[in-house]
């Protein structure tokens, strides 16, 4: 019978384990994956990710190294002497306790405060609305009177009234497809709506992502920490133009923002000015 075989030493598999481990760890230096972060909670999200990278990185390296070592370095010749059930439980429980503690402790101490920050409802926040539709993002501001006009789906009219503002001719609301202006250093509460299907309002450099759900306004908070222009994309499949559903947020000093909020014309003028001054440029990766 073949069962008296010499134990194999699978160097190939062990080397694969080590090479895959080294390649993955090396990838963090070889690949340009880091992104600029331009919001307050974004730093918290990045801290959470950094914690996980270190914690899981240690487990990943340890797991692969131990497996490789078991494969080539811990053979036996004779019969197998089973460890006691107690030793078996210990051998399993100790590593997994470390994993669980790393996972839960990280999220409770670093993650949950960030989560609360995004979900908070700051009474002093600047409030803006974003409306998603196939395939564009439209910013909606309440204008100088501080009141939002209502929406009426029947009044949607192409570029003239893209989100269907009721009695648009008598409203001082500001509607801006494609360009979202927000003040630097202020907490901004973004209320997100959708007119047709699901979208997801995503500003990667803010680490902001919140679905736009038809029939159910959602909200998220952000405090921009850097002036500049950032890309807005859609993260929820919304049809054939999903990949090009794009907009920009322009973070400007608060005074400039206040001027833009005076009327639709002031808003459009600021957009023009930003474009001409060259500040209306997409933030480049570092």
């Amino acid at each position: 019978m073949e069962t008296t075989h010499k134990p194999a030493r699978p160097w190939g598999v062990a080397l694969f384990y080590l090479a895959f481990m080294a390649a993955t760890v090396g990838g963090f230096w070889a690949i340009h994956w880091k992104m600029e972060v331009a919001s307050e909670h974004g730093k918290g999200v990045d801290n959470m990710i950094l914690f996980l990278l270190i914690a899981t990185g240690v487990m990943f390296v340890a797991g692969h190294a131990v497996t490789a070592w078991f494969l080539v370095g811990s053979r036996r010749e004779g019969s197998f002497r089973a460890p006691s059930p107690r030793a078996e439980w210990t051998a399993t429980l100790v590593p997994i306790l470390i994993v669980v503690i790393a996972a839960e402790a990280g999220v409770l101490t670093i993650g949950m405060p960030v989560w609360a920050q995004i979900a908070a409802n700051d009474p002093d926040a600047v409030r803006i609305r974003i409306v998603g539709k196939q395939f564009e993002w439209v910013a909606h501001y309440c204008g100088p009177d501080g009141k939002w006009s209502e929406y009426d789906p029947k009044e949607v009219d192409g570029a003239l009234n893209p989100i269907g503002i009721k009695d648009a001719d008598y409203s001082d609301d500001i509607v801006a497809p494609g360009v979202i202006i927000v003040p630097l250093g202020r907490t901004v509460q973004i209320q997100i709506r959708s007119m047709d299907v699901l979208h997801s309002f995503t500003v990667p450099m803010w680490r902001t992502k919140q679905d736009a759900v038809p029939g159910m306004p959602t909200r998220t908070q952000v405090k921009p920490t850097r002036e500049g222009t950032y890309e807005v994309v859609c993260a929820e499949i919304c049809g054939l133009g999903h990949y090009k559903m794009r907009a920009f947020v322009a973070v400007v000093p608060e005074a400039e923002f206040k001027t833009a909020m005076e009327s639709q014309d002031d808003y459009d003028a600021l957009v023009e000015k930003l474009k001409k001054s060259g500040r209306f440029k997409v933030a480049r990766p570092e």
Binding site: M1, S74, D196, L198, E236
Partner: protein, 561 residues
């Protein structure tokens, strides 16, 4: 059942086509999954061309989304589910627990012949006006409600699939609870049988939610209802007349199935890895009892954490907190399985064959993919990763790579039992290396793309911020082609070995579990004489004496204390 009337059915049709024999049905499932696998994987290679070299694949944005959607649907439900969950469950469970067949052979035949029209309907949907469904395999409304007719075919095919899967799971559960051989207590079942029991129970509990979701979606499309559709929708400038529903309802129902489905697919692969590793390390798996408990805990926790797919969906942030903490507790049983797999290699008397190679590769995939889960189950980190390529890389590692490696390990390991012949070993090894190296690299690189913020389901990635990681796309696409080409070796090996493989004896791997006591291939009703009994634990390896193992079925030897 006695052997007096145990002769095999006489005609070709009742023997191989409309068979009620669990082994034939298992192989039917397996071959069907292979055919669907060529389509599903082929789609991915095709749309990977578009991602690497935009414009050269001849795909429009609509077609691209159809391909992505159908790739996901076909691979999850019509390849991995068919091959691993239904196929090997059928083939292995009765043999491993010592039963003559499944509890309900006719229901079993029905389950296979229900999934065949489901496959055909799914494939036919490519050729209707508007093309196949293109709203993602998750089919979120309202997009799926306003989509062209391909979506209806997708829903009907899914309904047939669910019906089939339900019949198949019922059979597995009933067989395990009612038809175990004498001595085969639950805690003497091999881990493969345990994983099928747990996976089937999870499937039975969670699939009804998807059935309900699909029926309501069909009614929203064709029945004038508004389960998922709120008032005030304007599509292409035209107001729609729906009112009163919410898209979030569908997401909850979908993920109430969708998350447990992950375990339906992954657990059998893990169970198989334990069996293959035990036979080839010549020692019992580390912590059998712990692994069984872990499987059960995963089943319970897996049912109550679906919301981690919906952190950004707009559900209440307190729910997000709950789902974060609950999800991360799954780390506990899941890490137990991973640690036990690794620890099973300690003090091994290793024998390397193709099945063992695939099982060893699976451990790395589980570790790598599992650790990625810690990022996605964490609501704060998930804000960055949600719907990015990090998710794509993660779930492909878990329900793509782990399951496929498990399936291949199973095929190479149990092929002798299926056909009485062995598969070609050198060809198998080339297939292994041609699969594992590109597969692990592809999906690890996708994690980096996700870190760099690259979004999934994008026809093109022209955003400025994403350019640094977009450059990885050609590399990934080429690796995908290599992995696809390597499967040709498998097909050649599989089909030529059925006829020309080296003849195999009953128990070629000197394994302990009951299926190896039957002839290879087992006759109709599995054992020619009396049913075997299981007087001892499933993995008595590494013993002293003439042979280094004691099969589960042999008369117990006197203890030599």
């Amino acid at each position: 059942m006695t052997m007096d009337h145990a002769h095999a059915p006489p005609s070709f049709w009742s023997r191989y086509i409309f068979s009620q024999d669990h082994k034939v049905i298992g192989i039917q499932y397996l071959v069907t999954a292979m055919v669907m696998g060529i389509v599903g994987a082929g789609l991915s290679v095709w749309f990977r061309v578009q991602l690497a070299w935009p414009g050269t694949a001849g795909l429009s944005p609509e077609q691209y989304l159809s391909f992505v959607t159908m790739h996901g649907t076909i691979m999850i439900f019509f390849v991995v589910s068919l091959a691993l969950s239904s196929g090997f469950a059928n083939f292995l469970v009765p043999l491993q627990v010592g039963a003559r067949d499944m509890a309900y052979p006719f229901l079993n035949m029905l389950s296979y012949w229900t999934v065949v029209p489901a496959c055909l309907l799914m494939l036919a949907s490519f050729f209707v006006q508007g093309g196949a469904a293109g709203g993602g395999w998750t089919a979120y409304p309202p997009l799926s409600v306003i989509a062209p007719f391909g979506m209806t075919m997708w829903l009907l095919a899914m309904a047939l699939f669910i019906a089939s899967f339900t019949m198949s799971s019922l059979n597995v559960v009933t067989t395990i609870f009612n038809l175990r051989a004498r001595g085969m207590t639950l805690m003497r079942m091999p881990l493969t049988a345990w994983s099928y029991l747990v996976a089937s129970v999870i499937g039975l509990l969670s699939f009804p939610a998807l059935t309900a979701a699909a029926i309501m979606l069909l009614l929203d499309r064709h029945g004038g209802t508004s389960f998922y559709m709120p008032a005030g929708l304007v599509v292409s400038g035209k107001p729609l007349s729906y009112a009163g529903g919410t898209p979030l309802l569908f997401q909850h129902l979908f993920w109430f199935l969708g998350h447990p489905e992950v375990y339906v697919l992954v657990l059998p692969a893990i169970g198989i890895a334990f069996d293959v590793i035990a036979a080839n390390t010549r020692r019992p798996p580390h912590g059998y009892r712990i692994s069984v408990y872990a499987l059960i805990v995963i089943a319970v926790l897996g049912m109550i954490v679906w919301g981690h797919h919906m952190f950004t969906s707009g559900m209440n942030p307190y729910l997000g907190k709950y789902f974060t903490v609950a999800t991360l507790t799954i780390t506990f049983p899941f890490a137990a399985l991973g640690v036990n797999l690794v620890a099973s290699l300690w003090k091994a008397k290793l024998r390397i064959n193709t099945a063992m190679l695939f099982a060893l590769g699976l451990i790395s995939a589980i570790g790598t993919g599992g650790l990625g889960g810690l990022y996605l189950g964490n609501a704060a980190a998930d804000i960055h990763f949600h719907d990015s390529y990090f998710v794509v890389g993660h779930f492909h590692l878990m329900i793509g790579v782990v399951t496929m490696l498990g399936t291949f390990a199973a095929i190479y390991h149990w092929f002798p039992k299926m056909f009485g012949r062995r598969m070609n070993e050198p060809l198998g090894r080339v297939h292994f290396w041609g699969t594992i190296v590109p597969a692990m690299l592809i999906f690890t690189l996708m994690h980096f793309q996700g870190l760099g913020g690259m979004m999934r389901r994008y026809y093109e990635n022209t955003q400025v911020y994403v350019q640094p990681v977009q450059g990885l796309n050609p590399v990934i696409s080429i690796l995908a082609m290599v992995a696809f080409a390597a499967q040709i070796l498998f097909f050649v090996n599989f089909f030529s070995s059925i006829f020309r493989g080296a003849k195999s004896e009953e128990n070629p791997w000197q394994a302990t579990t009951l299926e190896w006591s039957a002839p290879s291939p087992p006759p109709h009703l599995n054992w020619p004489g009396e049913l075997p009994e299981a007087p001892r634990d499933p993995y008595v390896y590494g013993t002293e004496g003439e042979t280094d193992f004691q099969p589960q079925w042999a008369e117990p030897q006197k203890a030599t204390k």
